[in-house]
Amino acid sequence: MADPNDHIDVQLSATALSLQVCRDFVVHPSCGGLCFFEGTIRDLNLGATVTHLEFEAYAPMAVKEMTKIAVAARNDFGLHAVALHHRTGDLAIGETAVIIAVSSVHRKPAFEGCEFIIDELKKTVPIWKREYRADGSHWLNAHP
């Protein structure tokens, strides 16, 4: 039986992510559709000016949960390969927090698989972000 994590590349990184590395992992002669999602740090949240964000992860479990999502996407959408890379540490405005790259024979599963991965990541992967503003900081999503 094939390795269950075949064609899956999950990384949690304290240094800058590379779209090229993700593309190189998923590109394949059998695939006519590559789809990418890149999440970047924006300067405004709910009308307030953000100076930077801090990402913290429970690393071993985050990697496990990211791998579960990537494998589910590959199997359920029939993707060829999935790269899912996420940052930790302090990120400035405009920096990249997450990159998802997927490949498939045709484009529709690539679009759908890519969206599935970012939606699920936001629900289950134990990563937290602290938002810094000129007047203080707080953990996002923590309180109603």
Binding site: Y58, M61, A62, H86, V98, I127
Partner: protein, 79 residues
């Protein structure tokens, strides 16, 4: 005494990266949650919080065993 690891807002509530609770072995995850809320009422002010046991989300019915790695998972915010 068992150590429970805390991340994000849970670390702020606990006042550090770990908190300790007595007599958890054999108790359910639901009982752990109740003990946390009694000792640190601020956990009740969160949107929600989950417990991870040995790097997996734990259900309320699971029993805690000596040597378990327990972690409080406040609402996640990746991406």
């Amino acid at each position: 005494m068992m150590k429970i690891q805390c991340f994000g807002v849970a670390r702020d509530i606990a006042g550090g990266p770990y908190l300790t609770l007595d007599q958890l072995e054999g108790r359910s995850v639901a009982e752990l949650r109740q003990a946390l809320l009694r000792t640190y009422p601020a956990f009740g002010e969160l949107v929600s919080f989950a417990i991870a046991r040995n790097e997996e989300y734990a259900s309320d019915e699971e029993r805690i065993e000596a040597g378990d790695q327990l972690v409080i998972i406040p609402p996640v915010a990746g991406g």
